[in-house]
Symmetry: C2
Subunit: 409 residues, 2 copies
């Protein structure tokens, strides 16, 4: 049985039980997000080990920091998915009774025993969120989906034709969070009318939808051509990065009128911009005109930044509406954390005997961050799940372990 | 009163009423996500007009495609937030009775009458999600937060020291979707124990948390230094973009062993990689070793792509596990949509008399996309809300309009 501490501080989803069979980013993020809100989340993994157990980044002992980061606070149950008995145990755990159970998230392909049709035959009020690559069932991954919907083409630098892929798996993150929305929506519906829900959610659709929601596709449809390449310039308002005297870079953004007025005041450039506005016949108080005249605005502001260190820039902007952001590497974030300068959302936990820098849920109840719980050791909750959830006897569990149908820690 | 069609096809959140006072991306996305699932979402806007009404991209008539895209299916109520009567009406709408009402999302700063303390005094079981910039209340925006947590530093090209900012407001999107999670979680908690919830959610925390969840901060803490710059190479596995014979680019990704074996088979490079593995003492069946040897893998694969058009590459990969993605611009996505080649999630709706290319919710119930509803005209639901939700008489509504406390369409 697991040594993992149970959720002592009650979270808002305390009492909910969710089963998941997922890999990569979106599915595990969905499970972890629910676990960090207090749900009891049971991962079902193949007896051969989780698919992501070796995914980079790794720690010095070769353990996956990726897996540990994305599985915080969940329980791990290992079953032989190839054997009929293992499949029966998986289905029994997913469809176990309880008004706050019968909730399932998966991203598997081709496992009939985990399909909605097969599971809902056992529990008609099942809420099942099935994460897909493409909506027709073809597999996909963030890094291959992102190019399809235009983001790397818009991200490319002005002086290069090569698109720039995001390192952030943004669509995976959005898909994981939408899976949580789907699950909680299905639960709400079930509490309202007793019905179950078959919910499908495709990574490629998440990318297409959000690019469309932002107006980018409507824009291209309207104009009949794409936006110009912008480098680090923001679209539709003023925002770009500047070099500082110490070689560091900061970004300065003026979207609202207040931000623009404060930026002009801070940099002492009012007279210059008045003259420019006059000479160009421009009204720089209009957001879109700041975008159109971004090159000259950048050139006028640059000397103010170049004369100051990044620390001086940040100090000068404090207390104004000027929106500046320092470019930091992950290592610099870690250093700031060690100096006690970071948000309390970042914290170091004990992950299987080693300290691991990680994060709580960004959702604060009563202004408190819930302390994150570590990821489980693989298979550490198999015995607990079979005994406590399914009510199997110790002898029966022993037989299943011996037969290789289950794996215990 | 609004001409906007009510939600005829019942969504899974049908019957829920949410009030929101938000601007920029995260808050509106939260409201729209709930509306696309069937909730009745009421936007409260200042009588002077919504802050985002002029945000780019704009259509040919100067109307914001951004605003229209992010406010689909919500209702618009306009109140004078500066007048005590306008503030009273706002609070009354937010705290109106009903077991499926009393749900509020905002990202306002310094409006005491919209604070949890003030609103929960009127309705103790209020569920209030308050979106912030930084957790201490300072404002922030995606474009200034993203640099803080390392993403643009990891995104920069190998041959440039300049960080690359994302054009995608990924943290805004994640924040909006987490706001939905917070609201539905608070609703679940209220249905379970009758309690209200004060929920805070900071954009900067969302960035910090997800970068940490992915293991990036733990990695820098473990190693004491940052990852190398990778350009378009994926971290920890093999994935990079290739030029094709027609000048187009595709990305090829081999994360899993199956994807790698199929990529090698497809490109006929087995003998070369066997010899390379032998000569380097490498085991290319291991994901991390494919990352370490990414440069030689890229060089060996490049000629296969260079000899084929992107269409030939995609056709050859079909039916295999090879994960390839074509780089398309937004205009090319629109063209594919016009040819009927896109997922049914993309659709053209009538937005105030003009066709607008936009998207349904990616969450499909019973494999069906719910048809998206257009964004409202500003202030089009003021009269409806005051009459139907608050029960005010026509005479009273007329007096409020005359006094400038409310604005009608």
């Amino acid at each position: 049985m697991s040594d993992q501490p149970t959720n002592t501080a009650l979270g808002p989803l305390d009492g909910l039980r969710v089963v998941e069979t997922t890999s990569f980013v979106a599915g595990p993020l969905a499970g972890m997000t629910l676990a960090q809100l207090g749900a009891e989340v049971i991962r079902l993994d193949p007896a051969s080990g989780p698919a992501d157990a070796g995914r980079w980044p790794l720690d010095h002992d070769g353990r996956s920091l990726f897996w540990a980061g994305l599985n915080k606070g969940v329980r791990s149950v290992a079953l032989d998915f190839r054997s009929p008995e293992g499949q029966e145990l998986a289905a029994a755990l997913i469809t176990a009774p309880g008004e706050n159970a019968g909730l399932f998230v998966d991203n598997t392909i081709g496992r009939d025993f985990l399909s909605y049709d097969s599971l809902s035959a056992r529990r008609p009020d099942l809420v099942h969120v099935h994460i897909q690559g493409h909506p027709d069932g073809r597999p996909a991954m963030d890094y291959a989906v992102n190019p399809l919907y235009g983001v790397p083409m818009l991200t490319r630098q002005v002086d290069s034709d090569r698109p720039v892929n995001h390192v952030l798996p943004a669509w995976d993150i959005a898909t994981g969070l939408l899976a949580v929305t789907g699950l909680l929506t299905g639960l709400h519906k079930r509490r309202s009318d007793g019905s179950g829900s078959r919910i499908d959610l495709a990574l490629a659709d998440v990318a297409a939808a959000h690019v469309a929601h932002l107006g980018w596709l409507a824009e291209a449809a309207e104009r009949g051509h794409d936006r110009p390449r912008l480098g680090n310039h923001m679209f539709g308002a003023f925002g770009v990065d500047f070099g500082c005297a110490d070689g560091r870079r900061v970004i300065a953004v003026a979207i609202t009128g207040q931000q623009w007025r404060d930026l002009v005041r801070l940099t002492g450039t009012q007279a210059v911009f008045d003259a420019i506005a006059e000479s160009l016949g421009a009204d720089l108080s209009v957001e879109g005109q700041r975008f159109e005249h971004r090159a000259i605005i950048e050139a006028v502001l640059a000397p103010w930044f170049a004369k100051r260190t990044s620390a001086e820039v940040l100090a000068a902007a404090e207390g104004t509406r000027v929106m500046v952001g320092e470019f930091r590497s992950p290592k610099e974030v870690v250093d700031a954390f060690r100096r006690g300068e970071e948000s309390a959302i970042l914290t170091e936990i004990d992950q299987a005997g080693s300290p691991m820098l990680t994060a709580a849920s960004p959702l604060r109840w009563d202004d408190v961050y819930a302390e994150p719980r570590p990821a489980p050791a693989f298979a550490s909750d198999t015995e607990w799940a079979l005994a406590d959830v399914l009510g199997l006897s110790g002898a029966e569990i022993g037989r299943l372990a011996e037969a290789g149908v289950i794996r215990e820690h």
